[in-house]
C-alpha cells in the first residue's frame, strides 16, 4: 500500500503539470474559436453588426435577426464574408440584434433607444438645414439690413445644424476604428486566471467532498467506540 501511495505521489505532480501546460501551449498556437459574439452600432440611419467566433474567426453566412424590445421580429439578414450585416433602422425604439450561428451557438446585442434617437434626431434635422443653408448663401446675406434681420435669427441656428452634421460625419469617420476596436474587445477569451480559478474550484470541491465523507466515517467509528465503552 505504501509503495502504491508513493507511486501516486509521483504521478500527481505530472497531472497538475499537464493541466497547467495544456491551456498555455494551445492558447498561443491555434487560431481557435469558441463561443460566438455579435456587436452592433448605429451610424446615421443604419445599424451595423459584426459577428464572430472568439479569437476573430468571422461568422460567415449566419442568420442575424432584428427584434424590438418586446421581441417582435422586424428584419432579417445574413452575414457576409466578413461576418458583417447591416439594417436600415426601421423604427425609433430600442432594438435587439440576435445572431444564430450553426450548432446551437447564439448571441445577442441590445441597442438602447437613446443611441438610435440621438442619431435619428440629427438625421431628421439635416435636410431642413440643407434647404435653408442655400438661402443663407453670401449673396442673400449681402442684402439690406432689414432683409438680413429676418434670416439672421435663422443662420445662427442653421449654421449650428450644418456644423453639427459635419461634426457627426467626421466623428463617425474618426470613431470607426475605435468602434472596431470595441467590437474586437467584445470577445475575451478565458485567460489563465479563469482557468486556474476553475481548477482551484474543482480541487476545493474535492476537498469539501472528502471532508464530508471522512467526517461520516469518523463519526461511525466514534459511535462504535462509544458503544464498546458502554
Amino acid at each position: 500500500m505504501f509503495k502504491k501511495n508513493q507511486n501516486l505521489c509521483k504521478v500527481i505532480p505530472f497531472l497538475y503539470l499537464f493541466l497547467l501546460i495544456l491551456p498555455i501551449t494551445f492558447h498561443t498556437t491555434a487560431a481557435f474559436a469558441h463561443k460566438v459574439t455579435i456587436f452592433a452600432w448605429v451610424e446615421g440611419d443604419t445599424i451595423y453588426t459584426q459577428s464572430k467566433f472568439s479569437k476573430g474567426r468571422k461568422a460567415k453566412g449566419s442568420l442575424v435577426t432584428l427584434f424590438d424590445m418586446e421581441g417582435n421580429k422586424l428584419l432579417e439578414g445574413t452575414t457576409n464574408e466578413k461576418g458583417e450585416c447591416s439594417f436600415k433602422i426601421p423604427q425609433k425604439t430600442g432594438l435587439k440584434v440576435v445572431l444564430k450561428a450553426s450548432m446551437g451557438h447564439m448571441a445577442e446585442w441590445k441597442i438602447p433607444v437613446e443611441e438610435i434617437a440621438a442619431t435619428q434626431a440629427s438625421q431628421t434635422k439635416t435636410p431642413e438645414a440643407g434647404v435653408i443653408s442655400d438661402i443663407i448663401s453670401p449673396s442673400n446675406l449681402s442684402g439690406s439690413e432689414a432683409d438680413a434681420k429676418q434670416p439672421i435669427s435663422g443662420p445662427a441656428s442653421l449654421q449650428k445644424e450644418e456644423i453639427r452634421r459635419l461634426i457627426d460625419e467626421s466623428l463617425d469617420q474618426k470613431l470607426s476604428p475605435i468602434i472596431n476596436m470595441l467590437a474586437d474587445s467584445q470577445d475575451q477569451d478565458p485567460g489563465i486566471s479563469e482557468v486556474m480559478g476553475g481548477i482551484g474550484y474543482i480541487f476545493g470541491l474535492v476537498g469539501v467532498a472528502l471532508y464530508f465523507t471522512n467526517r461520516r466515517k469518523t463519526q461511525e467509528v466514534r459511535g462504535q467506540r462509544s458503544e464498546v465503552e458502554k
Binding site: 502504491k4 493541466l19 450548432m103 447564439m106 476553475g198 474535492v206 467532498a209
Partner: protein, 203 residues
Amino acid sequence: MHISEGVLSPAILIGGAVVTMAGVAIGLKGVDNKDIPKMGILSAAFFVASLVHVPVGPASVHMILNGLLGFILGWKAFPAILVALGLQALLFQFGGITTLGVNTMNMALPAVICYYLFGWSTKSSIKQSVFITAAFASGFCAVLVSSILVGFCLYLTGEAFSPAAKLIVAAHLPVMIIEGIVTAACAVFLKKIRPELLEEINV
C-alpha cells in the same frame, strides 16, 4: 458543442435537467473516499479540455474528453461533468446556466453509454491491444453520440434533424479521432502506473 442560452425550448431544457439530476443522483450514490480525487482530477481535465480548439469550417469545435471520463468513471462521470460544465458556464461563458442540464446530459449520457460498451476491457485479464482499441473506441464513440444528441436537441426545437446532425457529426470528426487517441493514451498511462484506478469501479 455547448448549446447557448435561448436556443432551446423550455420543455427540452427541463427534460435535460431531469435526466441530468437522475444521472447525478446515480453517480453520487455510493461514492467512496477513493473515488473523489479521481473524479476531481478528471473533472478538471474536462474543464480545461474545452479550451483546446480545432477550427473546422464555419464554426469551431473543441476537445471534450467525455469518453475518457465515461471509460474511467462510469456513472460518476455525471457529477464530474456537471461541475466542469457549470464552471465553464460561469467563468468562460460557454453554454449557460439554463442550458446546464441539457449540456450535461449531452456530454455525460454518451460517457455512460461508452462505459457500458467498452468498460469491460479495463479488467487486467484483457489483452493490451484489445484494451487500447476499446479505449480509442470509447473516446471516438462518446463524441459521436454527443454530436447526435446535440443535433437531436436542435431538431426538437425546430431545426431540420439530418442537416443539423450531419453538420455537427462532420465537424466533430477530427475531434473524434483526436479524442480516441488521447483517451487511449491516458488509459494506457493509467493502466501502467495505477491499474487499480481503472479496475475499482463497480456501479
